[in-house]
Amino acid sequence: MTDSIRSMFDEMPEQGGRIYSTEALEQMTGEPEEKLFSFAEYHPEEAERTGYSDYSYWKSVWRIFLKKKFAVAMVILFLAVFVFSFVALAIGKYQYDSLVPDNRQMFISPNGEYWFGTDNIGRDYWCQVWYATQTSIKLAAIVALGECVVGVVLGCLWGYVRKLDRFFTEIYNILYSVPTIIYMTLIALMIGRSFWIMCITLILFHWIYMAKNVRNLVFMYRDREYNLASRCLGTRLGTILSRNILPYLISVIILRLALSIPSTIGYETTLSYLGLGLDVNTPSLGILLRNSRAYFLDYPYLLIFPAAIVSIVTVAFYLAGNAFSDAADPRNHV
């Protein structure tokens, strides 16, 4: 058969005859014709060496997030504010614990002695603002973590165990349809106001949003074939949830966590401002704003400093969180 085949370039010397002539081939490869046209050794490992991609989910998330310079700047800005709140207390001229009301020092505008001025009863505002920043961030972190733990655990059950679906959906309907502010008012009036009451009530009413989110995702992954395989292998429910499903939810959980921090700070500020949040003696940014409300027209610095910090922290977290959610979406990993 072979000899009846005319190679195409025999007829078209200008196209290939020159390139593929024995001399040209030998020159190109530096090997004699007999060797070139002999069988090569077959390496099975060479064939098994796959063309797999080295795609890694977290690496890609990280890479895309770092590309968003603005978001990275926001994260740095937040960290800077948080770290500075400690530094500021250390370098400040007054300690929060030893502040005493002093009628003579009322409403002093910011100067070399009182860097943020003094408040209506003559206390140093600098150390109050930074102490309050810490309280607010602490509260937000505790609430976010609490929401996350409760929401993920219950959300997983809600999504995986069909029988519980109705029950949780009704809870969701109740919590969702009545504004949080009403619950908060009731609790503040009936139980009282303190840092921990605030934490617990916020967790109590906000876990459901995390749970709903988690539930939708669990629903999506529950009947994937790899979970059926696990059921065939007799894997227990807890293991299926923690090993098979949770790892897929991490990015969403982190995102919600990041977004719940600014919203909690916002809630705390609003509620405290309305007098339904923390008690007046716990300095938080909301309490400072509440205290300044009667005087800020005359002494705007009382409003501006805490308000600026609330804005910086919430906006920075919000923008960084959104950037992260874009980065965590595998569709953007091209």
């Binding site: 190679s7 195409m8 070139l36 090569a40 074939e225």
Partner: protein, 666 residues
């Protein structure tokens, strides 16, 4: 047919994609002359670039891809240079149209069917709305939609998959394109529907004189439709010729491998020839012949110099150094030679486990019913099904999508609860509530292999964890060292390297992932495995690897399989007995060869006639049998499940059974 005029000419097309900062060359210098009025099929595995290549004729490459070299001449214009959407709109639809794979996603679910057809007519033809409506109705009739007037104002969800694909075709053809590109038009459809759609496209081609490009991985479909065939590998056409030339006299080693790996051409009980390895990584520069590392008969030169095209006949070209006069002669493999004379091969000589008088019943299903939903929305997925599976056999369950075959498999592995009847494993009931010890025993004894190698592995766990999941649950090892040893053995068993244990699933190709799934089941040392379409989602070359592996494990460990499939041709190669299921009922059950020789139930006949054979001569002369369920009149004469011959069961009423008996006597 006149095949002189070239309608489209692609020359040295190169297409690149930028992906995560890297450049991927998907098409590496591809040339193609398309003749007016012909039907060309482009065949290749996934990733070979067949879709990308043809999408560039329409300017429909993804955002991150572009034609970076070469030219595509169409109507005297180089369309590879077109940039703006406005320019493309002149060509797209009106001149070159495309039918996509999935009829579920290519129609707008919120618009009436008729409007969608009308829309495409109005865009490309100067017609008044009234005329367009008439034309749309005409198109719907033309593509075989019965009662077009009423169907015109229905929504896509009221159409079945096959009917939707007909509508998609109507939309594509409505503008009378010169070239119609069909990208896997029937892959998402059932076999019987597939045959009808292929026939429809052929009719339309005759009527409108279109040129058609088929993109497919199914060589049966190619044999059915194509006049010319182009085989693609790693972004290049490596062989092109008429269908007869490619099927009966292929010259490129990759074409040999592709054809040889078809189970239809295999001999039962023997290994299928396979192509080891996976296609090359297109991020890398490829020197020489891209197929060389997987080719057992590669020449030294294949690794160094890219082969040119050699002309076998004026229509047949192949890109391999084997055709060079200086190269040593290499014989075509036997399986290719067998292609024409294949039907005479006797499949029936092997002994089957169920013929053994001392056969042991491993699984027994009695009057099983599975329903989903409750009350008025109750849906009966499996309706009073009974069968037995004997130790050591491969029992195949064949049916269309939605027939309930997967539900049966899942009921046996107890993923889906059953609503009536019972399932026995070694004579003991395993459905419903069972004791803890029996539960353990069933988990150990009955395992499952899944269809989709992408979805069936936990992407976020290491292979080590995935494979040892079962033995962890049942504490089947003494210490950590023994567990690792077991994982290593299981991986070796399925032909994977032990060091793969520390990797994540995404690092593997489809075939390797499927083997990980098999290792996961195998490590439990099961007796019975439900294989739920284990090869349907795999490429042709990888199918052979997996089928060989399943057969090998069966002989080594005496495994018993329930093999669920929609493809009768694959089942013929692997199964001892076949049950055909239609709408939740088994309509016929028999020894495999007996079923192929004497199909009795009309549905079995339709299914058999619809199987695409990888043989152009057979495909072109076949008569399609269409199954019409209304031929059964079960109002008075109730149907029964009857053993009409020893081992051959069929579902029918007394009149039908009488006619089946008459057919068997004849």
């Amino acid at each position: 047919m006149e095949k002189e005029k070239i309608i489209l000419s692609a020359k040295d097309v190169e297409i690149q994609f930028s992906l995560r900062g890297d450049r991927l060359t998907a098409i590496r210098g591809c040339s193609l002359d398309l003749y007016e009025g012909e039907t060309l099929a482009i065949v290749g595995e996934s990733g070979s670039g067949k879709s990308v290549f043809t999408k560039s004729f329409l300017g429909m490459l993804d955002q991150n891809g572009s034609v970076t070299g070469g030219s595509i001449l169409f109507e005297g214009e180089d369309i590879a240079r077109l940039k703006s959407e406005k320019d493309w709109r002149r060509i797209r639809g009106g001149k070159i149209a495309m039918v996509m794979q999935d009829p579920m996603t290519s129609l707008n679910p919120l618009k009436r069917i008729g409007q969608q057809v009308e829309e495409s007519i109005l865009l490309h033809q100067q017609l008044t709305p009234a005329e367009a409506r008439k034309e749309a109705l005409h198109m719907l009739e033309l593509v075989g939609i019965p009662d077009a007037e009423r169907r015109y104002s229905q929504y896509p969800h009221e159409f079945s998959g096959g009917m939707r694909q007909r509508v998609v075709i109507a939309i594509a053809v409505a503008c009378r394109p010169r070239i119609l590109i069909c990208d896997e038009p029937t892959t998402a459809l059932d076999v019987t529907i597939q045959a009808q759609i292929l026939a429809l496209i052929r009719d339309l081609q005759k009527k409108f004189g279109m040129t058609i490009i088929y993109i497919t991985h199914d060589l049966g479909v190619v044999a059915n439709v194509a006049e010319r065939v182009a085989v693609m590998y790693a972004g290049q056409i490596i062989e092109i010729g008429t269908a007869e030339e490619i099927f009966y006299d292929p010259r490129h080693p990759y074409s040999w491998a592709l054809l040889g790996a078809l189970p239809q051409l295999g001999i039962k009980g023997e290994k299928l020839p396979t192509i080891e390895g996976t296609p090359p990584n297109l991020f890398n520069r490829i020197t020489g012949d891209a197929f060389a590392p997987r080719n057992r008969q590669a020449l030294q030169i294949d690794y160094q110099v890219e082969p040119p095209y050699f002309e076998v006949t004026s229509t047949h070209k192949a890109k391999t150094w084997l055709l060079d006069p200086r190269a040593p002669r290499v014989e075509q493999p036997d399986s290719i030679k067998r292609l024409s004379g294949r039907m005479t091969v006797d499949y029936g000589s092997a002994r089957h486990p169920h013929e053994d008088p001392d056969r042991e019943t491993l699984i027994q299903v009695r009057d099983m019913q599975v329903t989903f939903g409750t009350g008025r929305r109750k849906f009966v997925a499996v309706d009073h099904v009974s069968f037995e599976i004997y130790r050591g056999e491969t029992f195949a369950l064949v049916g269309e999508s939605g027939s309930g075959k997967t539900t049966i498999g899942r009921a046996i592995t107890r993923i889906n609860p059953i609503s009536a009847g019972e399932i026995l494993y070694k004579g003991r009931r395993i459905s419903g509530r069972i004791s803890k010890e029996l539960d353990r025993e069933v988990i150990k004894g009955c395992q499952m292999i899944f269809q989709d190698p992408l979805a069936s592995l936990n992407e976020r766990a290491k292979v080590d964890y995935i494979v040892s999941e079962g033995i962890r649950n049942l504490h089947m090892y003494r210490d950590e060292a023994e567990r690792q040893e077991m994982v290593r053995n299981a991986l070796c068993e399925v032909g994977l390297l032990p060091e793969f244990a520390s990797r994540f699933p995404h690092e593997f190709s489809g075939g390797q992932r499927q083997r990980i799934g098999i290792a996961r089941a195998l490590i439990m040392k099961p007796e019975f495995i439900v294989a739920d379409e284990p090869i349907s989602a795999l490429d042709v070359s990888i199918r052979a690897q997996v089928l060989n592996l399943l057969n090998e494990l069966k002989t080594t460990y005496g495994l018993t399989y329930l093999f669920i499939a929609h493809d009768l041709s694959v089942v013929r190669f692997i199964a001892d007995r076949i049950a055909v299921i239609y709408k939740g009922r088994i309509v016929e059950l028999s020894e495999a060869e007996e079923l192929f020789r004497h199909p009795l139930h009309p549905y079995t006949k339709a299914l058999l006639s619809a199987i695409p054979e990888p043989d152009p001569a057979v495909e072109r002369n076949k008569d399609l049998v269409v199954y019409d369920p209304s031929v059964h009149d079960y109002t008075e004469d109730k149907p029964v499940w009857c053993e009409i011959l020893p081992g051959h069961f069929v579902f029918g009423n007394s009149a039908e059974l009488e006619s089946y008996r008459a057919a068997l006597r004849a």
